[in-house]
Each structure stands twice: as C-alpha cells, then as structure tokens.
C-alpha cells in the first residue's frame, strides 16, 4: 500500500496500523555529547542523525543531547555500557579508562601528518579492531570524527624547542599518557579541571595549556593566552559509540544505515572542521594571539621513548603501532 507515504504523524505507535509501508521495527535513540550547539561536531552529529533517519526510511530516530546535559564523557560512556543511553560521541582519550587500546591515539607524534591520520582512521584494520574490542564490555564504536590537532599555547612565550618548555606549567588532562607526554616535551604537567584553566592562565597559576585552535575562541582562552605554537603533538579523534545490545538487536539494513550515515557525516565534518579552524584562527588573531611554527623534529625525538615504551608493553600494542606506521609515506 502506497497510501501512507506522507505520514506526518510519526507518533501513531499505539494504534494498530497493519498496512504500514515499513515492515521494520522502528527504533528511537538518544545520543549524548559534551559540546555546545554551535560547535562543528554538533552540526555534524545533526547531519548524522538526519542521514540515519533518511537512510532507514524513517525507522531510526535519534535525539541529540548536547552540552554534557546527560553527564561528562566518562559518565556517558558508563551510561552507554549500561544501556541508559544508546549512543554517545566521546573523545578517544575518555575511552582509555575503559579499553587500553584507545591509548594509542594519545601517543604524541603517532601520526606524522593530517593525511596520515585520515588515512589510518578511514582505512586501517587496527582502527576497526579497536572499534570492536569493547563489544563484550557493552559498547562498540561505529565511526569517528576529527577534532584536529592539539598544540601548546602559552600566556606569552612561544615554544620552538623542548628547551623553551623548561619550567612551564602546562595544563594537561588527568591521564598518565598526557602527563608523560608533557614531561617528555620538557614542561611541567599540571592536571587541572578544564573550567579552571581560563582563570589560572589569567592569574599566572598556569603558563599554558594544550588544545586545538577552537579552545582559543570557544573557551575564550585567546583572551589570556597570546602565543599558539604549532607543536601538533596529537591528533585525538572523537569516537561514535553505541550500546552492544542495541547494535546487535538491529537488522542488517538499519546497521548499514547507521554506518553509512556515520561515514558520510564524518567526511563532511572534515571540511566543516577545517572551516571552523580557519574562523577560529582569524578570530584569535583579532584577539591578539600570535601563531608560531616550531622545530617539530626536536619534539618528535623527545617523544620517541614514549613510543618505545608503548610498543614494548604488549604484542598487540606493537602490532597496532606497526600497522599505523605502515600508512605513513
């Protein structure tokens, strides 16, 4: 029956309508993330949800909860595991606490360039394996989004070599990898809640922090930190996760719809991100932030021991590391 093509009321669940066009069970998910609604990732996730609905003939409805409304990243991962939420977009860094393999993305200078990074994320077996490594823990990953590179920015000193980092208190995320990284790069790692960073930069408790260019504008750090040095030490991807039971309960068609939607929105996110970085950079320059190139090789050399240590930890680590390096030109 082609009489219900223009169903405006998708909410007729309770009523018995035997002659529906769709034989599929329709599903409705919640997707949580912690960025504001004007952030590029929110726009790309909106694209993802629209595409998912479209590609599933309206059988998948996804409601986005932005802004950390439903909790911080660690909480929402727990919630996806438990089944409170079906989906979430979280940083690969937050997944480290749940699955060791995600640590690889926090290794400084793992990726040699943006091309290398995109190539690995899109095409490597390693990434696919890591995506599925948590299935028994209650969730898997079905896609990724770029969140750019992370570099060092300070109140006023440019950082060209590891020697310039001596004695600088740099805010890091509270993880052993990040702490070891800043130590290797020559600075004093200072774990601190993200919300305190602005005032601490302003009052001099911190000398700097590390993040992508968006932090200068979205979080106004550019008002108090005037020197952004392109150390480009990390490319940490954002990961799209889904509850295992939810995933396994889906028909192949719906699974494919989700994967295709993630793939397509991921691609347009690359452009959206590049654009937002251009804008952020221009806006930061207006604020008086200067951007500096650095002697990257010196930092790469300084970080090398961290790579050796990671590889020596386990055979899996070594295998993943080698696979990723094989993509470099």
């Amino acid at each position: 029956g082609g009489n219900s093509e223009d169903t405006n009321d998708a909410s007729g669940e309770g009523e018995s309508s035997g002659d529906e066009a769709n034989t599929e069970e329709s599903v409705s998910f919640r997707l949580a993330h912690n960025q504001p609604e004007n952030h590029p990732i929110h726009l790309s996730l909106e694209e993802f949800t629209n595409l998912a609905t479209e590609k599933s003939d309206g059988n998948i409805e996804i409601q986005i909860h932005p802004n950390g409304q439903l909790g911080a990243e660690r909480e929402v991962i727990e919630s996806v595991k438990a089944g409170t939420l079906e989906m979430a977009k979280v940083s690969a860094g937050a997944l480290e606490a749940f699955e060791e393999s995600y640590k690889i993305f926090s290794l400084p200078y793992l990726f040699e360039s943006e091309e290398h990074y995109y190539d690995v994320m899109d095409n490597s077996e390693t990434v696919k394996e890591i995506y599925n490594s948590t299935e028994d823990d209650g969730f898997i990953a079905i896609g990724w989004y770029t969140s750019g590179q992370r570099s060092i920015y300070t109140v006023d000193q440019k950082v060209e070599t590891p020697d310039d980092m001596k004695g600088l208190k740099i805010r890091v995320q509270e993880s052993p990898t990040s702490i070891a990284m800043i130590e290797a790069m020559g600075g004093s790692p200072t774990p601190m809640a993200f919300g305190d960073v602005y005032t601490s930069l302003q009052s001099g408790i911190l000398d700097g922090a590390e993040n992508n260019e968006n932090a200068l504008t979205q979080n106004n750090h550019g008002e108090v930190a005037k020197a952004y040095s392109y150390t480009e030490h990390q490319f940490v991807p954002d990961i799209l996760i889904i509850n295992s039971n939810t995933w396994n309960g889906l028909s192949d068609e719906l699974k494919q719809a989700l994967i295709d939607a993630a793939e397509e929105s991921k691609e347009s996110h690359k452009d959206r991100w590049a654009e937002s970085i251009e804008e952020a950079k221009a806006a930061a320059e207006e604020m008086g932030v200067e951007f500096f190139e650095v002697d990257k090789q010196a930092f790469i050399d300084a970080a090398a021991p961290l790579h050796d240590e990671f590889v020596s930890e386990s055979d899996t680590n070594a295998k993943y590391f080698e696979d990723i390096k094989s993509f470099a030109q």
Partner: protein, 162 residues
Amino acid sequence: MKKILDRIMEYLTATLMAVMVIVASWQVFTRFVLDDPSTISEEMLRYSLIWLTMVGSALAYSKKKHVAIVFVTRKFSGKMYYVVNIAVEIIVILFSVFILLFGGINALQNAVGQVSSAMQMPMEYLYLSLSVGGILFILYAIFHIIDHVKSMRNEMGAETGN
C-alpha cells in the same frame, strides 16, 4: 551499639577531612613552592569527597541532621506522630536498599575493568562507597525505628496506666 558505630564513623570521617585539608595545601605547595605540580592530588581529593559524603551523610542521618520540612508533621501528636516517623524511616530504608545498595552494586559491576585517570585506581573502589553508605543508612534507620517503638510503648503505656 549505635554509639560505638557513631564513634568509629566520627573518627574516620574527621580524619579524612583533616587529610583532605593537608592534601589540598600540599597541592598548592608543590606547584607554587616546589614548581613541580602534584599530578594525583586533585583526583585524590575529588574521590575523598565522594567517600566522605557517602559515609558522612549516613552519620549525619544518625544524628538527624538532614534538612527536612517538618512544619506539617510537627502538628501530629500521639500515635500518629510515631506512625509518620516510622514511615519516614521505612522510606529511607527503601532508598538505601534500592538506590545505594542495589544501584551501588550495579554501578560497581558496570565499572569493572575501568580505571581512574590519574591514580589508575580501579573504579570499583569509588562506587563501593555507595553500598557502604547504604548499609550504614539501613543500620541507622533500624536504630531509629527501635527508638521510636520504645518511646511509643512508653508513652502509650503511661497513658493506659493513668
């Protein structure tokens, strides 16, 4: 029995509070004076506060310090007064059993395999605070019920004896 438990909990929580002040001051000292910021103190303080709250709020419940709106129930007298008070204790027991104890065990099981960021501590230890707090709340609510039943008997006994 209740007094001994109170005593132990009082000293444990007071010590924890004192340790927290020392650790926070240490954090300022390592950064400002030693120029070598402590990397685990912040997480330690946050998790200490969670344990302090779960255990300490049970203790505060023992002493009936939690804020409640009493201007309605204050008007009750006689048997009604005790019925309402015992009902409140039962509600608190339900809260402790289902949310703190059972929910706490669920949260603990869900956290298996997860480690904390700075100290790399298994997260089960953090969620364990819920179940421990729950057991304490249940014990204290039972103590309160026993007290209520005793004084109700005394009061009713005094009335009939008149």
